[in-house]
């Protein structure tokens, strides 16, 4: 019964995540950009923009320059999460890919790094008055959700082990639309339940910053307005203005 409920939830969440993010990305991509609004330091070439975005994604360059504390915590969290996620590939692949096998010890350790980053960010949200001022309940809940996922995961890795073989069989089953049994372990079920929530809210919350980053004209535009005319579709269709100076009496 519970296994079936979770299966349905996973399918639903996956559809909502993929379709939701897809729709948002399509919307961003289709929305016109009326002007060149690239912000310094602005590359003059496409190659420069690619490098700039690479540095943003890999190093969080702007954040590094603007706030070291947020950068440290955000960096620990995001990279920790990425490696933890990659480690989770072992539950969806058979046989497990060699590099996933190889990174297993590191992946297990990274759970703490991810948690440390999250707790650091949360502490700032609570104790730093400027950030407390700008925080809504949803900002705290988002951190609670991620801490919940990371926390239950870490518990299962280090404290109360769950039947991993059974979990893996369930996940491999899901991939083939074959619903198998899930261990009825409350910590595992909380972990999976929170992940489902995260997947569902991803496209309709601030988590959309991940794809959104690539659609910020201030960062993704090439600084070449003088050399190459930039014009949006709706601006092209504006009524034309007169070419010469209208003759009138000068006073």
């Amino acid at each position: 019964m519970i296994s079936t409920v979770f299966a349905v939830l996973f399918y639903l969440a996956t559809i909502l995540l993929v379709v939701g993010v897809g729709m948002k990305v399509m919307k961003y991509a289709r929305t016109p950009v009326p002007l060149k609004i690239v912000v310094s330091p602005a590359p003059r070439t496409k190659r420069g923009v690619v490098l700039r975005m690479f540095r943003e994604v890999i190093f969080f360059e702007s954040l590094f320059k603007s706030n070291k504390w947020i950068w440290i915590f955000a960096y620990l969290f995001h990279w920790g999460m990425l490696i933890v996620l990659l480690r989770h590939l072992r539950y969806f692949t058979e046989p497990v890919w060699w590099w996933v096998e190889l990174m297993q010890p590191l992946g297990k350790l990274m759970a703490f790094v991810m948690l440390a980053g999250l707790l650091g960010l949360w502490a700032r949200r609570i104790f730093q008055e400027r950030i407390r001022y700008i925080s809504n309940p949803s900002d705290h809940l988002m951190l609670a959700l991620l801490v919940g996922i990371a926390g239950t995961g870490t518990l299962m890795t280090y404290v109360t082990r769950t039947d991993v073989i059974m979990v893996k069989s369930y996940m491999l089953g899901l991939l083939r639309f074959d619903i198998r049994e899930l261990p009825l372990d409350p910590i595992l079920l909380s972990h999976l339940g929170l992940v489902v929530i995260l997947m569902i809210i991803f496209p309709i919350s601030k988590l959309i910053h991940a794809p959104g980053l690539f659609f910020a004209p201030s960062r993704t535009q090439v600084d070449n307005a003088r050399e190459k005319r930039h014009i949006s579709k709706w601006a092209r269709n504006l009524p034309p203005l007169p070419e010469g100076i209208p003759k009138k009496k000068e006073g």
């Binding site: 309940p137 980053l213 003088r226 203005l241």
Partner: protein, 514 residues
Amino acid sequence: MAALDMNAEGGPKFVGDPLKIPKIECGAMMDTNTYKAAPAHNEPLGFPGELLENWQEVAIAKLGELAATNRAFQVYLDTCVKCGACTDKCHYFLGTGDPKNMPVARQDLLRSVYRRYYTFAGKYFPWLVGARDLTREVLDEWYTYYHQCSQCRRCAVACPYGIDTAEISMAAREILDTVGVGQKYCNEIIAKLKKTGNNLGMNPKALRATLEDLEEDLEEETGIPIKLPLDVQGADILLITPSADFFAEPHIDGLLGYAKVFHAAGVNWTISSYASEAANFGMFIGSYENMREVSWRIRQAAKDLGVKRIVFGECGHAWRVGYSFLNTLAGPFDFLDQNYPIPQHIMEFTSDAIDDGLLKIDKSKNDEFVMTYHDSCNVARGSAMGRKEGGQFDLPRKVLQAVCNHYYEMERDTIRENTFCCGGGGGLLTDDLMDLRIKGAAPRMTAMQQVSADHGVTHMAAICAICKTQFSKVMPKYGYEMDNIMSVHQLVANAVILDGQETEAEAATAEETP
């Protein structure tokens, strides 16, 4: 330099560190409001004269329309994670402590309404995501705090997602205008420009008289008939410069500098009475249509006069419009000489003239000044110069250092792309916001005080008409004289020696031998 009078009544408190973060003081600036526009100011811009009866409906629809027609606005509304990296970046927050002057909080004034009407979470769980209805109080709050943003984009540099508060602030002002709540300062000026060609409302006759006076001054000073041509058909270069260059100090001295450089370079140039304004306040109010109309005058004038090139004078936001938007708004400029950048900045022109050895320079003429340079926000973060990345920082410094011997940089985090706004940009250069302007200038003034203390810096140079006016007003509040702000081309004018120009030594000899 005068003694720092930091305890002057109503004056700013001394901030030892230009980046020092104040304690939050809720509502500190809630009563600082700029005058609202009268119907006569709004209507020529295509906006309703007064607040519409169904303003709420119109405002919400406009918000949706802007999100659908401007990717930046849409993405910036969605992607903020409230990380807080921008919270200490705004000079108005640093100067006032009002939390609504923190960039993210300023954005949230509008984002909260967007969420309420355009997002799932805001529609069904408003309390969760801080969504709120668009009430009259909210509209008034927009008016207050979106007129405490100078659209300088310092926060956009800091944001990990490149969220640019200027885009939000421009959109907010456009929504306000659309429902009939305009700002007097900007809208009155745009209306004036549409009528006369410049922000001052100066007619061609008055402009000609002014330029003739300046020609006389130049001849008196140099002994050479240097021209400030107006409406000359077939000139090579059309100079588009802020109208402040015709009447304000130290702007005029900059204009005289351009004239000397053009003279020394031997080019044939002109000013247009039809497009006698570089400033484009259409940008400040976020109105594409108004910005396009103002820009279009430059195209019309260039075609009408048959010029080959367009050169912009020292004006910050005008250069953002010129460099980043002009080709979009009034292009393509296929009728101009493609061998030169279109448009070109006077700094690029002067820099090339120096490289080509066209200028004879006596740096010692500026020895009485110990200089620093203020990067104007719109030039620094919204434009470029020259062929290399970062030219907008390097070219003015190169020109400055070519004409003066004593030059020092201010604190690293207050220059180049991290420069502070002067405190008067973005349509806030109006006397009814003087309190905000003085407080907003604090970070820059503190950085200047530092180099004054460390290196004996006496003067600051800038290449923006708004910066120059703002600093000449607020510098006395920080212990400087109003003429401690200078145009870069004022220093150029001081140091350039034209062929046939009487030098002081010659003049003295001439006097001795009657």
